[in-house]
C-alpha cells in the first residue's frame, strides 16, 4: 500500500519488489542475503532503505537492475516490477536499455565508479549517446548542461578533466549527472554520501532534492544514516538480516517506531540536542548469514523477546496509516493469516 505525494489517492507504484530472494555463494556455501523482501516506490516518491552492514539492502538494490554479481550471487525468486513490467524476465539486452534510461544508479565510492582513464566529458557523453540518437556536438552540449545542472562550476572546462583531478564531492556530482542525463524515472542511490564530508554531503542532498523537484524523479535511497533519512525520505523501509522488519512514512517512523530494532537504532544515535549518560545500545552482534537464529531473526538481541519469537518468524502486519511491522508484539498468530512458521 502506498500513497502519492499529495495523499489524494493511491497511484500505481513505479517499482514493486515482491518476495525477493537472493543468495550468495560465500566461503562456507550458499547463504541467503535477501530473504523475501517486499517493498515499493511510487512515482516521484523518495523511499529510504535503511539497515546496517550485511542486512541485504545493497543486494536488494542491485537486484532491481539485475546487477547482482554473478556467478557468486543469484536471484532465486520473487518479482521485480517496474512500471508494470516484470524485470526478472527480461533479456540482458532489454535490461541494458532500461539501465540508464529508465532506472539509473549511483554508488558510494565515486573514485571507483568513474573510469579513471576517461575524462568526465567522455563518460557523460557515453551515457547520453547510449540511449539517445544525437550528434557528438549535441551530446557535448547536453553534457555541459548536465554538469551545470548538478552545480559544477565552469562545466565546459570540467568536461576535459579526469576523475582524479576532481574532489570527492565533484566526482559524486559527475556521477549524479551521468545517472540523470536521460531523465530516468527512478534513481537508485546506494550510500551516495557516506564517503563524503558532512558539508559536501549537505550539498549533495540538497542537489538531489532540487533535481527531484525539477525532474519529478523517484528515488530509492540506501543508507544507514538516520539523519539523512529524516531529511530526505518520505517513506522508510528498515531491513535486518536480509528481511524487512518495518516500513512507515518518515514521520511515523521517528515519532512512533514500532519494531524493537528500529527503536534500538534510534536510541543508538547520540543526540545532538540533549546530553545522555549512556547510549542505549542493542546488545550483541548482527548474526552471520550462515547461522541465522530460528524464528524472528532479531529475537536474541530483542529486549521484548518472548518464547514465541524463537519459534516462529512474524510476517509484516499493517498497523495503521501505511505503517507495517514484522513483530509478534503487534498481533499473535491467531489474529493473523499467512504466518510463516518453521
Amino acid at each position: 500500500m502506498m500513497y502519492a505525494d499529495d495523499g489524494a489517492q493511491p497511484m500505481a507504484p513505479l517499482l514493486e519488489i515482491e518476495n525477493l530472494r537472493v543468495t550468495f555463494d560465500g566461503e562456507d556455501g550458499e547463504v541467503t542475503a535477501v530473504n523475501g523482501v517486499t517493498l515499493s516506490v511510487g512515482q516521484g516518491e523518495t523511499v529510504a532503505l535503511v539497515g546496517e552492514s550485511g542486512c541485504g539492502k545493497s543486494m536488494t538494490a542491485l537486484s532491481v537492475l539485475r546487477l547482482v554479481p554473478a556467478p557468486l550471487g543469484a536471484i532465486r525468486g520473487g518479482s521485480v516490477r517496474f512500471a508494470g513490467e516484470e524485470l526478472l524476465m527480461k533479456t540482458v539486452e532489454q535490461m541494458q536499455e532500461i539501465r540508464g534510461r529508465d532506472i539509473a544508479m549511483i554508488f558510494q565510492e565515486p573514485m571507483t565508479s568513474l573510469n579513471p582513464v576517461f575524462t568526465c566529458g567522455d563518460q557523460i557523453m557515453e551515457a547520453i549517446t547510449r540511449h539517445r540518437v544525437v550528434s557528438k556536438r549535441e551530446a557535448r552540449e547536453q553534457a555541459v548542461e548536465m554538469l551545470r545542472l548538478v552545480g559544477i562550476p565552469m562545466p565546459e572546462r570540467r568536461l576535459y578533466e579526469y576523475p582524479h583531478q576532481l574532489s570527492g564531492g565533484m566526482r559524486q556530482r559527475v556521477m549524479i549527472g551521468m545517472a540523470l542525463c536521460c531523465a530516468p524515472k527512478l534513481l537508485i542511490a546506494d550510500e551516495p554520501t557516506t564517503a563524503l564530508d558532512v558539508t559536501i554531503q549537505a550539498q549533495i542532498l540538497d542537489l538531489l532534492r532540487t533535481l527531484k523537484r525539477k525532474i519529478g524523479m523517484a528515488i530509492l535511497l540506501i543508507t544507514h544514516d538516520l539523519g539523512i533519512v529524516a531529511e530526505v525520505a518520505e517513506r522508510v523501509v528498515i531491513m535486518y538480516a536480509g528481511e524487512v522488519v518495518e516500513e512507515a512514512p518518515v514521520r511515523s517512523l521517528f515519532k512512533k517506531p514500532a519494531h524493537p530494532y528500529t527503536r534500538g537504532l534510534l536510541g543508538s544515535v547520540p543526540k545532538l540536542d540533549r546530553k545522555e549518560e549512556e547510549l542505549k545500545t542493542i546488545p550483541g552482534n548482527v548474526p552471520s548469514l550462515k547461522s541465522m537464529p530460528s524464528g524472528c531473526r532479531f529475537h536474541p538481541r530483542c529486549p521484548n523477546a518472548r518464547s514465541l519469537c524463537a519459534k516462529a518468524a512474524p510476517a509484516l502486519l499493517e498497523i495503521g496509516e501505511g505503517q507495517r511491522v514484522a513483530c509478534w508484539l503487534y498481533g499473535l498468530p491467531s489474529d493473523r493469516e499467512g504466518v510463516e512458521t518453521l
Binding site: 552492514s53 570527492g168 564530508d197 558539508t199 549537505a202 529524516a230 545532538l272 547510549l279 552482534n285
Partner: protein, 324 residues
C-alpha cells in the same frame, strides 16, 4: 586546584609540512601544510574532541603526538616531558604512557597473530612479563573490553568490526597509558556498534582515569564523549571550546556551517541550512589571510589579507576570526 599540574599534554605551534616536489623552475617547492601551527592542551582525565573534514590535519596531529609521524616543528610535551626531541630510548619509555587506537578495525590487527598474541605484544615488547602472568593479564584485558575468554586463541578475521575494535582498545590499555589518542575509532562501525564501543570507552575512562584525544569527523559521537572540542580547517585550529557552547553557539563561521550540515534524525526540524560553496581548497595552495575566507559567507576585506589571531573570547572558548 592547581591548573598547571592538571595539564597532561601540551601542544605548542605544531607543524607538519610535506614536501611535494623538489624545486620547480621558479625555485619554489610545493608543500603540503598538513598541520600548520596548532596549539592546545589536554587536562588529565578529560576528553578533547578534534573535528574537521578530510584534509584538515586532525589525523596527522594525532599521529604526531604519538610520534608515529615526525613533526616538522613545534613542541609536544607529556607531563612536562618533551616528546618531539626525545631520544630513541626515552621515547620508548614515553610510549608506555600514550597509546593510539586506529580507525580501521580490519587493518589495525596483525592477521597472522591471535588475539592473545596481539594484546600480549605490548608486554613482550617491553619485557614486562611472560608465561602464565602474561596470559592472566591478557585475559583480564580481554574481559575488560567485553570479549569472551575464548577470543584468546582466535584470529582477527573471525571477529566483527566492533569486536576487533575492542581488541585494539585492549591492546592500547595493556601498558596502563595515561593518554589515549583515538583516531576515528568508531567511524568504520555500524550505528548500533558505535554506541556499544562509545559506551565502553566512556566506562573505561571512568575506571582508569584515562585522558582521550578523540579525533573524528562524526560530530554526534564527538559531542557525546567530549568535554571540549576543537575544530580544524586546512591544518589550523579555528575554534576550541566547551562542547555545549561550541555546538549551540559556534563562534567561527566554519563551525557554524558544520553544525548546520549535520543531518538530524528528526523529520520535523526545519532549519536554515548554511550551505558552503565549493570544496575545501588544497592544503598546498592555502589561500592568503584566513584559510576559510573563500567559502565564508561573512567575509570582509580584511579576511583576505590578514590571518586572524587565535584568541580567548571568554571562558576558555577560543576562535580565530576577524568577526570577533
Amino acid at each position: 586546584m592547581n591548573q598547571e599540574s592538571d595539564v597532561l599534554l601540551e601542544v605548542r605551534d605544531l607543524k607538519k609540512h610535506y614536501v611535494l616536489s623538489k624545486r620547480t623552475v621558479f625555485g619554489r617547492r610545493e608543500m603540503l601544510r598538513a598541520v600548520d601551527g596548532i596549539s592546545f592542551s589536554l587536562r588529565r582525565g578529560e576528553t578533547l574532541g578534534l573535528v574537521g573534514e578530510s584534509g584538515c590535519g586532525k589525523t596527522t596531529t594525532g599521529k604526531c603526538i604519538v610520534r608515529l609521524i615526525e613533526p616538522t616543528s613545534g613542541q609536544i610535551s607529556l607531563e612536562g616531558e618533551d616528546v618531539v626531541g626525545a631520544s630513541p630510548d626515552r621515547i620508548r619509555e614515553i610510549r608506555k604512557q600514550m597509546q593510539i587506537i586506529f580507525q580501521d578495525p580490519y587493518s589495525s590487527l596483525n592477521p597472522r597473530m591471535t588475539v592473545g598474541q596481539i594484546v600480549g605484544e605490548p608486554f613482550a615488547i617491553h619485557g614486562i612479563c611472560a608465561g602464565k602472568e602474561r596470559r592472566q593479564r591478557v585475559e583480564a584485558l580481554i574481559d575488560r573490553v567485553g570479549l569472551t575468554r575464548d577470543s584468546y586463541t582466535r584470529f582477527p578475521h573471525e571477529f566483527s568490526g566492533g569486536q576487533r575494535q575492542r581488541v585494539g582498545i585492549a591492546r592500547a590499555l595493556a601498558l596502563n597509558p595515561k593518554l589515549v589518542v583515538c583516531d576515528e575509532p568508531v567511524s568504520a562501525l555500524d550505528v548500533s556498534i558505535q554506541a556499544q564501543v562509545l559506551n565502553l570507552m566512556v566506562q573505561l575512562q571512568k575506571e582508569s582515569g584515562l585522558t582521550y584525544l578523540f579525533i573524528s569527523h562524526g560530530l554526534s559521537a564527538v559531542k557525546h564523549i567530549s568535554r571540549r572540542v576543537g575544530v580544524m580547517y586546512l591544518g589550523k585550529l579555528v575554534e576550541l571550546g566547551e562542547t555545549e557552547a561550541l555546538f549551540s553557539s559556534p563562534l567561527h563561521p566554519y563551525t557554524e556551517a558544520l553544525m548546520s550540515a549535520i543531518p538530524r534524525p528528526d523529520p520535523d526540524i526545519v532549519r536554515e541550512r548554511v550551505l558552503l560553496e565549493g570544496d575545501a581548497t588544497d592544503s598546498n595552495h592555502p589561500p592568503s589571510g584566513c584559510p576559510f575566507h573563500a567559502r565564508c559567507r561573512y567575509r570582509m576585506a580584511v579576511c583576505e589579507n590578514e590571518e586572524p589571531a587565535w584568541r580567548d573570547l571568554g571562558g576558555g572558548h577560543f576562535a580565530a576570526c576577524h568577526l570577533r
